[in-house]
Amino acid sequence: MAHLRESAEKALKMLRTLPRVQIGNIRPNPNSKKNTKRGRAQHSGDKHGAGNKGSGQRQNYMRIGYETGNNPFYLRFPYEPYYKGHHLRRQYPPLSLLQLQVLLDTNRIDPKQPIDVTTLCNTGLLNLQPASMEYGFQLTDDGIDRFKAKICIEVQHAKESVIAAIEKNGGVIRTAYYDPRSLQAMVNPQKWFEKGEPIPRRLLPPQDAVEYYASAKNRGYLADPEEISKERLVLAQKYGYELPRIEDDPDYEMLISQKDARQIFYGLEPGWVIGLRDKVIVKSKGFPEEPSNTKAKKDGTS
């Protein structure tokens, strides 16, 4: 930013000796405007830059990859397995630890609250498109040495080193699966609530993802909690750090807060309808009435 500041100072200094900027003496940047009219004379007349006949004039360009009769490159090799089923594969857009640290440092994320997809999307800097096969965020290890925050975070995919980095600081990480419809509700809860639809029930992971989310090594949400605490110790020994005792932590309640496997929002259960205008929660009959009605709502939408 410093160079911008410097150039601004220079420009402002220059303006002092220039005539007053007025409506009559300003003009757009050169070549920024495209003339919609076709010239008629020497420089842009004749064919108007479209060439003589053919695709240039008629805009009937050949299809992409067509090599005017040659065996096209994309058909020349009979088998490309590495893209097989690419349109069906789950994508996990990356979120680096450095980015996360910046979001925390700039108060875009409150470290005193558990972090999930909704929190990340509410920062305004990250976005998910569940409709285009994006199934959540993966936490990558860029900036791992600078990560200093103690957080409780839930992502959809994380490497072992990332898990170690978070647990070293006394934080908790879980990997959890969300189906696209649930994710759609999480990306923009306000929009979902305004539709008046009940909160959907989170589906269980598909067959090929069960193994990942049931593994304690990956801190999967379907794993046995005791296995996870064992794996925490194993990882601490492997990476050589002392595991902070989260039981003694003042934020213990926050750190252990976890969603149910069928739950989408903290404090809100599937089947409930949220009325934003009247600030009410309409619960379905199957669930018992809770006294802390308003509190639960606050947790869910914050």
């Binding site: 500041r5 200094k13 002092r16 007025q22 300003i26 003009r27 757009p28």
Partner: protein, 294 residues
């Protein structure tokens, strides 16, 4: 360089304030003597701004401007105010200012130029002469565009709107750039209030002449209801206009030679623009403009 930038406006650098260059000394002396002779006994208005959320990256580049009086024709320095560099000393993007001017002209412009097509011109239903055998060119209607008195092909049709929206942050940048340009060219003045003693336009005329403002002056205050005196005094002067700070726009600022802001207006403009520059849901403002959006 900063001293060059500021003849009457010096930069506040706390450590160097006492050891500033001679130019600054002169200004200080001048102002202090003037304050001494002035009849009023009120303390000078020293307003170092304390932007709680939006602290500038470098405090030293924030601008300082004299607060002037408007209750008397001769100039008296009432105090000093600090201005945020992100609003009052940004990159003077003249091209963005131009885009704003063009947008402000166009978005409300509806062209009523109108021509009739061959179908709309009266008559011309029958074939003027047979297709063959006359030795004349073939024609089907006397109102074809080829005919005198015929319809116009591809002529202007009324009403044609020229509405479009400039991207939101270009509009914000237009405001900050214009304010910066005005300040850099000594065309921005800050006054304490808009209370003038008389309803006489002659007072305003003399004031403008004495202060070397103008000829055209835009006076901006926080409120949209101005005191009676200044309203009457400026009413007859077409080149002196009053505007609330929420109505501040690039076109009006550039249309007037001198921009005069009250202290309240400065604070309001600064607060609003800094909010827009730093808001976290900025991505929502950058979407495509829809007519029914809030």
């Amino acid at each position: 360089m900063l001293n060059l930038l500021n003849k009457t406006k010096c930069i506040l650098i706390p450590n160097l304030r006492k050891t500033a260059s001679r130019a600054t000394h002169d200004v200080v002396k001048e102002s202090s003597s003037e304050v001494a002779v002035s009849k009023t006994t009120t303390a000078p208005l020293i307003l170092p701004q304390n932007w709680p959320q939006y602290e500038p990256m470098n405090r030293a580049v924030s601008r300082q401007v004299w607060i002037e009086n408007i209750d008397d024709v001769p100039e008296r320095k009432v105090g000093i105010i600090e201005l945020h560099p992100d609003v009052f000393a940004t990159q003077p993007r003249v091209d963005v200012i131009q885009e704003n001017i063009e947008w402000q002209r166009k978005y409300r412009y509806v062209s009523f130029a109108h021509t009739k097509t061959r179908a709309e011109v009266r008559g011309g239903g029958r074939k003027p002469w047979p297709q063959k055998g006359m030795g004349r060119a073939r024609h089907g209607s006397i109102r074809s565009p080829l005919f005198r008195g015929g319809g116009v092909a591809h002529g202007p049709r009324s009403p044609t709107t020229h509405f479009y929206m400039l991207p939101f942050y270009k509009r914000v940048m237009g405001l900050t750039a214009t304010l910066s340009v005005k300040l850099a060219q000594d065309d921005l003045h800050v006054i304490d209030t808009v209370d003038v003693p008389t309803q006489d336009p002659q007072f305003i005329k003399e004031l403008i002449k004495e202060r070397n403002w103008g000829p055209s002056v835009l006076i901006v205050d926080r409120d949209d209801i101005f005191p009676e005196n200044i309203s009457y005094a400026t009413d007859a002067l077409s080149y002196v206009n009053l505007m609330p700070s929420y109505g501040l726009n690039t076109y009006s600022m550039l249309k007037h030679d001198t921009l005069v802001l009250t202290v309240n207006a400065v604070k309001h403009i600064e607060e609003r623009l800094l909010y827009q520059l730093h808001r976290t849901d900025a991505i929502k403002k950058q979407g495509k403009f829809k007519l029914d959006q809030v």
